[in-house]
Symmetry: C3
Subunit: 556 residues, 3 copies
Amino acid sequence: MKAKTTVVFMTFEVIVIMLMGLFVDFEATDEDPTGVIHNFFKRNDYATLQSRIMGAELQCRTALFFILCEIVFIVLFAVYVENPRFADEEADHTAGEDPSHAQPTLPPKRDLYAMFQDTHVMIFVGFGFLMTFLRHYGYSAVGINFLLGAFFVQWAILCQGGFHSYFMGHPSIHMTLNTILNADIAVASVLISFGALLGRTTPMQLFFMGLVEIVLFSINEFVVYNVLKAFDAGGSIVVHTFGALFGMFCSLAMINRKASKEEDAHMNRTSNYFSNLFSMIGTIFLWVFWPSFNAALTEEEDQVTAVTNTYLSLAASVVATFAISYFVVHGGKIEMEHVQNATLAGGVAIGAVCDKIEHPFGALIIGFLAGTISTLGYRFLTPLLEKKLQMYDTCGVNNLHGMPGIFSGIASCFILMAEFHNSELDSEELSFHYHANGTQLLHKKSELHVDAWEEVSRTNRDQALAQFEALAMTIGIAIVGGLITGFILRLTFFGQVHKSHWYEDHHNFELPDLDEDGIRRHGSNLGAGAVDRIFKIKETQKQTAKELHDALEKGL
Amino acid sequence: MKAKTTVVFMTFEVIVIMLMGLFVDFEATDEDPTGVIHNFFKRNDYATLQSRIMGAELQCRTALFFILCEIVFIVLFAVYVENPRFADEEADHTAGEDPSHAQPTLPPKRDLYAMFQDTHVMIFVGFGFLMTFLRHYGYSAVGINFLLGAFFVQWAILCQGGFHSYFMGHPSIHMTLNTILNADIAVASVLISFGALLGRTTPMQLFFMGLVEIVLFSINEFVVYNVLKAFDAGGSIVVHTFGALFGMFCSLAMINRKASKEEDAHMNRTSNYFSNLFSMIGTIFLWVFWPSFNAALTEEEDQVTAVTNTYLSLAASVVATFAISYFVVHGGKIEMEHVQNATLAGGVAIGAVCDKIEHPFGALIIGFLAGTISTLGYRFLTPLLEKKLQMYDTCGVNNLHGMPGIFSGIASCFILMAEFHNSELDSEELSFHYHANGTQLLHKKSELHVDAWEEVSRTNRDQALAQFEALAMTIGIAIVGGLITGFILRLTFFGQVHKSHWYEDHHNFELPDLDEDGIRRHGSNLGAGAVDRIFKIKETQKQTAKELHDALEKGL
Amino acid sequence: MKAKTTVVFMTFEVIVIMLMGLFVDFEATDEDPTGVIHNFFKRNDYATLQSRIMGAELQCRTALFFILCEIVFIVLFAVYVENPRFADEEADHTAGEDPSHAQPTLPPKRDLYAMFQDTHVMIFVGFGFLMTFLRHYGYSAVGINFLLGAFFVQWAILCQGGFHSYFMGHPSIHMTLNTILNADIAVASVLISFGALLGRTTPMQLFFMGLVEIVLFSINEFVVYNVLKAFDAGGSIVVHTFGALFGMFCSLAMINRKASKEEDAHMNRTSNYFSNLFSMIGTIFLWVFWPSFNAALTEEEDQVTAVTNTYLSLAASVVATFAISYFVVHGGKIEMEHVQNATLAGGVAIGAVCDKIEHPFGALIIGFLAGTISTLGYRFLTPLLEKKLQMYDTCGVNNLHGMPGIFSGIASCFILMAEFHNSELDSEELSFHYHANGTQLLHKKSELHVDAWEEVSRTNRDQALAQFEALAMTIGIAIVGGLITGFILRLTFFGQVHKSHWYEDHHNFELPDLDEDGIRRHGSNLGAGAVDRIFKIKETQKQTAKELHDALEKGL
């Protein structure tokens, strides 16, 4: 128990340091010898308040916060997280623990490592490149996705393990393959919210948003799986619906409605030929590895079912996306935005039921409907929300994760509620084996330790109610949490990206001196390159004309 | 049996709807309230017949066909496809089935899931990006590859399972990891054919081609593995040779020789710096995961042999490709086209014998020869075929899949036929263990159910004959099938891409408004961007000069 | 034994042929009928010696060397390498071998195949694309990486197996999953050295460098693992430190100091917007799969520990990289070079101890420090080394592999040496389980056969000494080997890249006729495209002005 006390003091101390970092005003000292600190504290060339907030001071604060938080994480890991392989030895020294800790450290489930790696690719390659479709925001998309992912997996391990420890009475968090897989999945919700806000936030805002979101996510996940005992193998409810709604309502609350009314069409929010191709890298890796994402945490005997159902659902949603895109895009062409996103809706929509659907054709129907809903959402709903509510959603996460996730949750209720009679096999049982192994799933999923399993018997109606409660609670927490977080993000402390700088890399990343054509850029804005060039040409023309004119006048 | 009757009626009904979709003329009604249907049916701005065929009517028809076909698939899945995990329960209600259905749903083979995922990456990332080398056809390469892949895996599950059911007397198709792995492999043949036709077809033509090709592929595969009992672990004969020849002869028959004689060099059929790099993403993922492709369906005890032989063969073909490219390219440089494609020839060429070659150096020799053949093919054969026969082959699939595939088939015969004496070990047995486990392989490969295995004893000569017959039959079916399909694709019903629009995305995909430089494009042709710009500059110059002239005249 | 004699003769013969290829002067004969040989031998348009060395003669020589070497490899494989699955049969014919050869051919370790494939992706996708950050050297980065990787895995199998055979008395090299995994890892050291030299060498120089480096690598690896019995699961000492120092000192010795003093800032050594994004593909795949790289060769019961520690270390190094980059980059922005490289330092730094660290927070600390060291290295050390010593290091491998590798080696000593007392558990044992399973690891890692394991008991101090000796020896061999190799590479025989052509693809690869804008390039230099264009515009302006002038004069 000494350790626990220590950690409280240490964490407290660190928070004090953080607060100091916050409020202490850094004085620019010219006699700074190293040149480094000097270099970034002295920024007298920033004149306006806007530039001060956007400029180096914010960057320093951001960096300090990440470093301090990393230190806090290290302290918390030191106290709470342990490797189960070495836990036994220590157990002799501490209190007597239950012998289930002498578990085999290798996961008992086949292919778990391969599925973890597939999921890992999805989180960092998939989400990262999916968001590179903006022509001037590629570095931020892939880079900040990388930073947020790597940072918040640590926080997710602490939060997910923490809630489990608190409510289940485990003294520590164990590092296993399940732990890091669960952390990756938790981070997916932050990255989905990042997709909604893409291009309109500072890293500091995202840092704060993620801290809050992971906490709420962990609470919600714990209640859904361990209290309500709802099933949601692919995380359609707890990850996709939660992340999408949180991000969207955060986006809604963040916008200063008066300031932003001025200009509505934003020139940078466009793609170019190559940025769309980079985005396809993300899309296809997500699509290919989605069966692993959905199947990774199912029961061993359900894994193949989860894989094949997800495979079929994804295949059907690709067909739906292309077909519907042909219909709704002006000129009968296909929109790359639809191909990049709506093709994945089948993976989201099958998530909650991927291991429960008995008949493969059910997966095809769900995938086809999800692809249709998602494509229509991109075409009609997103522009509408932007126009009417100023609810910006850069990547359209509502269409890819939000609506298909809710659809998946409703589908899981609906199929349980309806006592439908199979035309072939009259008076057949329900199509879902939710009972017994359904609840085992729930336990295993939230398991950071290997416990004895609890058997839960419920009627269909009760389980359907649990599914509905899980969905409703998730939506509620996401909306309220998102709105509150969004309002907090309006504080100038977190910095703000002015609307004229939305969707631009240059305030986060050092851009190459030379643009694609090898012509030296002058402005910090990449887009300005081309304009500069034309301007330069015009200037040369004027000069040529002027010289000629002078020459003529002289000659005359 | 009620179900079987139902499906016949339902499928019939759907075909009627499809025919209606075909022949009923959609009237443009101005009072359409939704705006959507109105939007795409009223296309009076298309004046010429050419634009009508190329325009929205074709796109609508394509979309309708995909949707209707998807509905047919769903119906067929509902009737014929079942999840073996839940099959037992239903078995009580239907006829008494053999108890082997009570199989474990998890695959008994190690690493099968990892190998499936590797293959999945090859099909969607590998093939998709490999074809992005054309500078104006990247979206179509990766997008249509995606659509075709996702659409035809469903059709392949039905066809492969269907033939098996029909000839083997199984009442239904089971969804297992083997099923979806086999479907992925079947789709590879369609995507290889797509490579031959890349840039010269409408999606509607590819839709029809794929429907036919998968049926022929399934028949041929069934005969090769189950009737002839030939061995071909990596599918060099049944997938690569078949797909390449089908595509090439389809391409040959499709071309309207009179119309296309006019212009031979096509300006769009070029790469730019980045499109070649995107293509390398595809190449390297294909190269890296090829051992999984070849080993996935081998016997468990042959898997490591298949992996190491494929690894060595691929390594040797990379060396051969670079070395030969140095020799044959003007100026002693390396051609990226060779690096992108011929490096993979080793994987194709080892396919039929990857689990049979005892001595690792044999794999190196096969890989080296395959790389050499393929590179020489790209340099000399493809231009020749185009010039003499107008047999276009955009990706050079003949060099990557065709010739190495045939080489692999011949190698499998040759090694069996020749009673060669090993210099070290005189009067040694043949290097191939084709017998007994060779035939087990065949069964397992085509297995959608787990059956009792049949032992087949054959002499070397008989097996060599079987290999030869398999190769000859595959070539025959591919050529005849390809030619007939190609002729059918000339029908205006499927739409045609006029030669001046070959290798251009813009009739399939909505292109970004801004090109790479952030300059607004005016034409629909991306390539026109740069031309426009130069033109604009010239115009400005003229104007400047004119203004100056006017000013001077006034001044004077 | 007949075989061994045969191979000596054959290899001798091949070496004679190689020497002939070297010194025989190829005469250009005009009456060469094939046109091919004619085509590349007749290069009378190359006037100067420089162009002769740089031109086709060198390319031919390079191609010949690769082909001849491949033939030598095939011969050596034929004699020395065998497939263990078929080895038993031959054993009856040859001498009586120990029965341990009747091993199961499938690897006994879970997930080994998945981990091999992940590593394979890292070598070819990861390293290849990581180096595409130079805007005019993308083809060479990914292409030559591909060639070197595929070529040297074969050489590595021979060298690693050869040393094992020689010292351990095994008659042959067995092809197993471990063999190809070890070969991939060995090749990583060559590719790291390639990173240091990137853009300044001919393929012929890299060919020679790799041949030498793999030999030295194999000797060093053998001594470290089998003689010193040091532990280094992730190869931080034997792969990363070795490869980085070898490459850097090779670079140092290669530079002709007099000639290169002239111009210091090299214009081509820059990125553009898309080349940096391509590089991120490599970064993220390396980052995602690094846990597999470190865990692949650990003991089965240590695998999860290795995976989770690497995962945490990598996560912490990402946070450190971004935070430090904010501080040290002018303007408070993030440098993409740091994100591309320093984020991976955590994987290198945890390598030697990934399976030994008991407490997860230790991994976080190591990762955080490594990211910090690496980022500071990129910012301050690399420019310093270039300026003061002309020690060029294109990819900064010293910062990514060198310093974090040495840090990892020192960490492994330090933790063993210090008898630190855990604050919670006083008088606890050391945190490392190096003993017994530590040595089993060593054996297994270097194992190409499955042997009986040897138990080694050592005190902490002895093992720490062994770790230190391993590190010191590796550094020594790498520096001396690198320097000597670098001096040899100055021979004109290997060709030289003149400083004005550094970091340019065009002397290795045929570049597309059209650049990104679809404008026909005239020079062979891509960068010249833009300059040409501007020049062209100016010319047109002059002409317009001149025409106007003429018109005015006439008119007047």
